[in-house]
């Protein structure tokens, strides 16, 4: 049964955006040290890995699939980067190789999902372990830290004394590209159709399997890019880099109003969700809120994020219902 038209009056992504603005304003005024350029650059820099992966993940989820192996792909490309660097290869060669590796990881996921028709959740839980395991085999217990300074500075530094990390600029470009792809191209429109009703999309001549394959490949690519960024940003390539990142990405994307049943959501919402969580955690740390309490707050935020609009809507319809039924008595 489709929802009543009234019920969708307020779009959730705008609500998340508004929440983000409110949080930022409140933090600027009431949290000591939040508005300071250094802190903001920390905030952006530390949130960037989640944001980078959230881009393709949003597209994937809109198309009704999911990739839980992203963090492992990131770890794997970090591990490969470390071991090749140890082997004396030039970083300018290593990075493209890592990206190719990411493409391969995505391709494996994509082929398993589209060719064998396996559920992506199951496949990527498996490859999550597999990729992480391969990373462990490749790099073992090493932690490679001696990457060239100009790269480390780019990944960890900021532009002058401003709050902008260097790495934020390429992210903005990628964000723009992703927004255009999802919201302004036929490809993006097809993704919504695939996510909402795959069979109807197939009947409309949309190449469902190919589209999905592309998405998995893009996700692998972005995950490996994130892995490279992570290793440079934290100046440490280890096999267990970025462990657990997939859950942060999923939480942020969910918070941004992306429907995991597919077919609904906007990139703006997803990215707002990412930075809402990032900013909230930053502000809470500055306020000396303990890690445990932060977890509770994050959890409550998630629950409220889905419950809030529902409750508001139900109160609305209940009131409308009462008005409509009272005269008949």
């Amino acid at each position: 049964m489709p929802d009543l038209p009234l019920a969708r009056a307020v779009r959730w992504d705008t609500v998340v955006g508004a929440l983000l603005v409110v949080l930022l304003l409140a933090s600027f005024s009431f949290v000591d040290g939040f508005g300071n350029a250094l802190n903001l650059s920390f905030l952006l820099g530390n949130t960037l890995p989640i944001a980078l992966i959230a881009l393709p993940m949003t597209l994937l989820v809109v198309a009704g699939e999911i990739d839980l192996s992203v963090a492992s792909t990131a770890g794997l490309s970090g591990a490969v980067m470390g071991s090749l660097w140890n082997a004396g290869m030039a970083i300018e060669t290593i990075i493209p190789l890592c990206l190719v590796l990411g493409v391969l990881c995505g391709l494996v996921n994509g082929l398993l999902v589209t060719r064998l028709g396996l559920p992506s959740l199951a496949v990527t839980i498996g490859t999550m372990a597999a990729y992480r395991g391969i990373a462990q085999i490749i790099l073992g217990s090493d932690a490679v830290t001696d990457f060239p300074t100009q790269y480390l500075d780019f990944a960890a530094g900021r532009i002058g004394d401003t709050f902008l990390p260097y790495a934020f600029l390429p992210f903005l470009a990628l964000l723009a590209i992703a927004v255009v792809i999802l919201h302004a191209t036929p490809f993006g429109r097809s993704l919504f159709a695939i996510g909402a009703n795959e069979e109807a999309a197939r009947f409309a001549g949309i190449r469902v399997r190919r589209h999905k394959l592309w998405l998995f490949v893009a996700t692998g690519l972005m995950a490996s890019l994130t892995g490279v960024f992570w290793a440079l940003h934290y100046a440490s390539a280890r096999y267990d880099n970025a462990t657990g990142l997939e859950l942060s990405v999923v939480a942020a994307v969910l918070l941004g109003g992306i429907d995991f049943d597919g077919g609904r959501g906007t990139l703006g919402g997803a990215i707002a969700g990412v930075f809402l969580l990032g900013a909230l955690q930053n502000a809470m740390s500055l306020l000396n809120v303990s890690a445990q309490s932060q977890i509770v707050v994050t959890g409550i935020l998630l629950v409220v994020s889905v419950l809030g609009p529902r409750v508001a809507r139900q109160i609305g319809t209940a009131r409308a219902g009462r008005q409509a039924t009272t005269p008949s008595h």
């Binding site: 049964m1 489709p2 009543l4 038209p5 009234l6 255009v180 302004a184 191209t185 036929p186 993006g188 429109r189 097809s190 919504f192 159709a193 909402a196 009703n197 069979e199 109807a200 999309a201 197939r202 009947f203 409309a204 001549g205 949309i206 190449r207 077919g263 609904r264 219902g321 409509a324 039924t325 005269p327 008949s328």
Partner: protein
């Protein structure tokens, strides 16, 4: 003085946002009487039924059972009051067996409240025998054709032994013989004292089954009267508010070169060795009983399913196996039979649903051109008389018939050279049906090759230049327009001729 009506409504109002689906509607159903509900697409018939079934809460007005006002809090209340409903769209559980679907929530029990699975299956088999159909009670509901789903829905409703049986277009996907059998069962029920409420856009069915008819137009009650003495034209006038043009406006066209050529097409276990041609300007009807494999042939031709053997050519160019996108590029279009599963994305707007087949053609420099998309969609929505509040509304909020029109619009908008339509007028009211026929006729006149699959035999006979008939997965006859009659087609469809 008659007994009070078993089920009645008075002064019913129901709005969805700005859309007033029903206003001031009253209706009485009496025991032992079959009552028809007529009206154009979007007139409010399904909404009325859902209100009677407790699915919708009325904004105003009362529901009376045996003359007593009641409030139905949900479908369970209606069921407990002895009301059985067949909804317009099948509501099956695809993962459960057909028998479980029929008896969900009311299974025969053994000791300790355990379900008696044997009894469930046996009861389902008995129901199917009564309907004269051959369905395996233990088969899962997933993969049933629309018609089979409809049969299961009917069996479910009959299993209630309900005092009131409400049926929203139960026959839309059925062919004549199943309809006849259904009617026989329904008549028995009526004679045993049940009240029947029946919706159909096939007027002859209303006249064949019902004693009274209530007509709705734009959510308002137009008339409630005995069927006796009424003519089809009267009824159409009440529904549409004007006289109807010819229902089958078949134009004579120049038949040209072969546009679609199918050779020895086979899908193992589904259909075998199917060969036929469709020429430019020609409308070819494809008839057969439910389950004969017509839709399957259409799917394989379009490339949704992979064919095991055979070739398909459009304008002399062979189509790649299993690739609808290349079929579309070659100028082929398929209007699928199941609008809910195959035709539409329910949560998406009307505009975008129509736009889905034109993503590449309306794009500029690789980007969506929203204005072009909107004008294309608006054009076709208007041409097909889709009744909507706003073009940006979700297509799921439309009435069944209007949804069907959107599916047609979506495919006609591609400007195909070869058009396959599978049950194109399923659930479409008589007025629009004529319009759809006129459109198809016009397309043929413009040189489009049309393959029309329909379970509505008069439609086939009225529109087709040539009739192909399938029986159990094989083409059994090819009958030219001049020789096509109900008898000749049915004979081939039931395999009574070689």
């Amino acid at each position: 003085m008659r007994e009070p009506p078993v089920l009645a409504v008075e002064g019913l109002d129901k709005s969805f946002g700005a859309v007033r689906a029903l206003h001031g509607v009253s209706l009485q159903l009496h025991a032992g009487e079959a009552h028809a509900l007529a009206g154009e697409n979007g007139a409010g018939k399904s909404t009325l039924i859902k209100t009677l079934a407790g699915v919708h809460r009325p904004d105003a007005g009362t529901v009376l059972i045996d003359g007593e006002p009641v409030t139905l809090h949900g479908p369970a209340d209606a069921r407990d009051a002895g009301i059985a409903v067949i909804y317009q769209e099948p509501t099956l559980f695809p993962d459960l067996s057909v028998a479980e679907n029929i008896f969900m929530g009311r299974q025969p029990r053994r000791s300790l409240g355990r379900i008696d699975h044997k009894a469930v299956n046996a009861a389902a088999a008995a129901l199917f025998a009564r309907l004269g159909v051959d369905l395996d009670p233990e088969q899962p509901a997933r993969g049933l054709s629309i018609a089979d789903q409809q049969i299961v829905e009917i069996a479910k409703a009959l299993s209630f032994d309900a005092r009131v049986l409400i049926m929203d277009e139960p026959t839309a996907a059925l062919t004549g013989s199943e309809v006849a059998r259904l009617f026989a069962v329904v008549r028995t029920l009526r004679e045993q004292g049940s009240a029947i409420l029946f919706i159909s856009h096939r007027l002859e069915e209303i006249f064949g089954l019902c004693q009274r008819v209530t007509t709705l137009r734009d959510g308002a009650l137009i008339a409630s009267e005995p069927v006796e003495g009424l003519t089809e034209d009267d009824l159409v006038r009440r529904m549409v508010g004007r006289d109807l043009d010819e229902l089958y406006p078949k134009q004579d066209t120049d038949i040209g070169a072969v546009a679609l050529s199918v050779r020895r097409l086979t899908r193992e276990g589904v259909f075998t060795d199917v060969s036929f041609d469709v020429r430019r300007g020609e409308i070819v009807g494809l008839a057969g009983l439910v389950g004969a494999g017509r839709s399957e042939v259409a799917r394989a031709v379009f490339g949704i399913d992979r064919r095991d053997a055979g070739t398909v050519e459009v304008d002399g160019r062979a189509l790649v196996n299993g690739a609808p996108s290349t079929a579309m590029a070659a100028g082929l279009a398929l209007v699928p039979e199941d609008r809910r599963a195959q035709g539409l994305v329910m949560g998406m707007s009307i505009e975008r649903n129509i736009g889905l087949t034109g993503l590449r053609t309306t794009a500029r420099a690789g980007l969506m051109d929203r204005r072009a998309e909107r004008s294309r969609s608006l054009d076709w929505a208007v041409k097909l008389q889709v009744k909507y509040a706003r073009i940006a509304d979700a297509v799921g909020t439309l009435s069944g018939g209007n949804q069907q029109k959107v599916v047609l619009a979506k495919w006609l908008a591609t400007g195909p050279r070869v058009l396959i339509v599978d049950e194109p007028t399923r659930g479409i009211d008589v007025g629009t049906k004529a319009e759809v026929h006129r459109l198809l006729s016009g397309l043929a006149a413009d040189g489009v090759a049309v393959l029309m699959i329909s379970s509505d035999l008069p439609e086939i006979l009225g529109m087709a230049d040539r009739v192909l008939v399938m029986h159990e997965g094989r083409l059994t006859a090819e009958i030219p327009r001049t020789e096509a009659t109900e008898e000749s087609v049915m004979a081939a469809a039931t395999g009574r001729v070689a």
